[in-house]
């Protein structure tokens, strides 16, 4: 029997809801004793410290932590009980930045971004800025959760939105285990609806990508191999098509860190990450080409640093004072969670990096 997933770490008053506690765990134990090298040490050893940004390519905006799901692995600790939602005022500040940024990609995430009451207005306005690639990270089930969301696939199409959706496995059991009972069936239905209006079809400009992240304490396998399996299984069983599979490593923070500790997998997982450290992946990690903006308008090197409360090491810390040139002249803040992005073929919100 699947467990019912209902509450975030915040709601449960877990100590792991606190960013400082997570950072403390990641800095102590096997990293403090020197059993494993810290990420700083590893970058120093490979002559890549400090980590510096390259050209800004992606603006990732987190419009709120509220979500209709409570997934096991969620680094945001999102859920229905999270009330952090970006206001229209902050969205207006974001729009000013979107109009003048040199970034070619706008990436809206959450929580379920669709649950922000100003989501449609924001997408409508942002799409006028002429950004080349406009991504919305949709968990799929939100599209089937309430009648008021049923027309979202068409809304996405009308705004040429690139839909990126989580799908941890092509089987019901593994998907529901990670994301909750009934998620698989709703996700399949939502994918079929997106396909029906042209999303994910070969040669279609309506981009539909799926995000895979492991359901347990192991790293993702080869992205191309997994994509092949996903495409075959989803098409044979459900007639579903999509463009790319993005394989993402679970970073040891928030609910995944909670799982690692509770299941006594934490040390083994950190060993896996450190042993899989790939210096070549460092050059392309997403923090080198991305700025993450929180629901309150604070600026971060990535969405993970946002959840750990690690604001950018720059005088420019808020969207209201945004200056791209000045912001790009900074050192990226790192800790042991960063090993998650440099393991094997690397990992980012855009999937493998090499």
């Amino acid at each position: 029997m699947q467990k019912l997933k209902t509450e975030s770490l915040h709601k449960r008053h877990s100590e792991l809801a606190e960013a400082n506690r997570q950072l403390e765990i990641l800095s102590n134990g096997i990293f403090k004793t020197g059993e494993l090298s810290t990420f700083t040490q590893k970058l120093t050893d490979t002559h890549q410290f400090p980590l510096r940004p390259k050209k800004l390519e992606i603006l990732q905006i987190n419009v709120g932590y509220m979500c209709n799901q409570v997934c096991d692995h969620c680094h945001v600790d999102a859920g229905p009980d999270r009330t952090e939602i970006m206001t229209k005022e902050t969205m207006l500040q974001c729009l000013e930045v979107i109009k003048k940024t040199g970034a070619h990609t706008l990436d809206l995430t959450g929580g379920a971004p669709e649950m922000n009451p100003n989501f449609r207005w924001f997408v409508d306005e942002a799409s006028k800025a002429g950004i080349k690639d406009f991504i919305v990270r949709s968990n799929l089930t939100i599209l089937r959760s309430n009648k008021k969301y049923y027309d979202l696939p068409q809304f996405f199409k009308d705004h040429n939105v690139h839909v990126v959706s989580s799908m941890p496995h092509w089987t019901r059991g593994k998907t529901d285990k990670q994301r909750g009972d009934g998620v698989f069936d709703k996700s399949i239905k939502a994918l079929q609806e997106l396909n029906a209006i042209g999303y994910g079809k070969p040669n279609s400009d309506l981009r539909l990508d799926l995000v895979y992240n492991p359901t347990g304490a192991f790293l993702p396998g080869d992205q191309a191999g997994l994509e092949k399996e996903f495409k075959k299984e989803l098409f044979d069983e459900f007639g579903i098509e999509f463009h790319n599979l993005l394989a993402i490593t679970n970073l040891p923070i928030s609910r995944f860190l909670d799982f690692l500790i509770a299941s006594e997998n934490y040390e083994d997982y950190m060993y896996q990450l450190v042993e899989a450290f790939n210096p070549a992946a460092v050059k392309n990690v997403m923090c080198t080409n991305t700025i993450s903006i929180s629901w309150e308008g604070w600026l971060y090197d990535c969405d993970f640093n946002q959840m750990l409360g690690l604001k950018v090491a720059s005088k420019i810390k808020h969207i209201s004072e945004y200056n791209e040139e000045q912001l790009n002249d900074r050192n990226i803040i790192i800790s042991q969670h960063c090993y998650g992005c440099t393991a094997g073929a690397g990992s980012s919100c855009q999937g493998a990096v090499i």
Partner: protein
Amino acid sequence: MAANNYYDPADLKNFGKITEWSEELGTKFFDYYSKVFEDGALTAREKSLIALAVSHTEQCPYCIDAYTKDTLQRGVTKEQMMEAIHVGAAIKSGATLVHGTMMMNKVNKLDG
């Protein structure tokens, strides 16, 4: 060696160190090993499942540890993993039972 065990999970991390005591042979082995598991006429995923089954017939704890993780990473389901092990088990038991024909031949010759 760990004080009270022949097998220590931590030793798996040191597998690569066998090269230190015989560099040429160790290096050749690992080159061969990694080449074997690349995509070829069989996919790396299929090879991983074969390795999982053989790990069990060889009853190698290190290999079971490694290839359980490897198959999971490749998206293999637990039902597929268990079926692969049954293939190994079927061959193991079949290999035992097929020798029964030797016994039968011998009995027939000796005792009619």
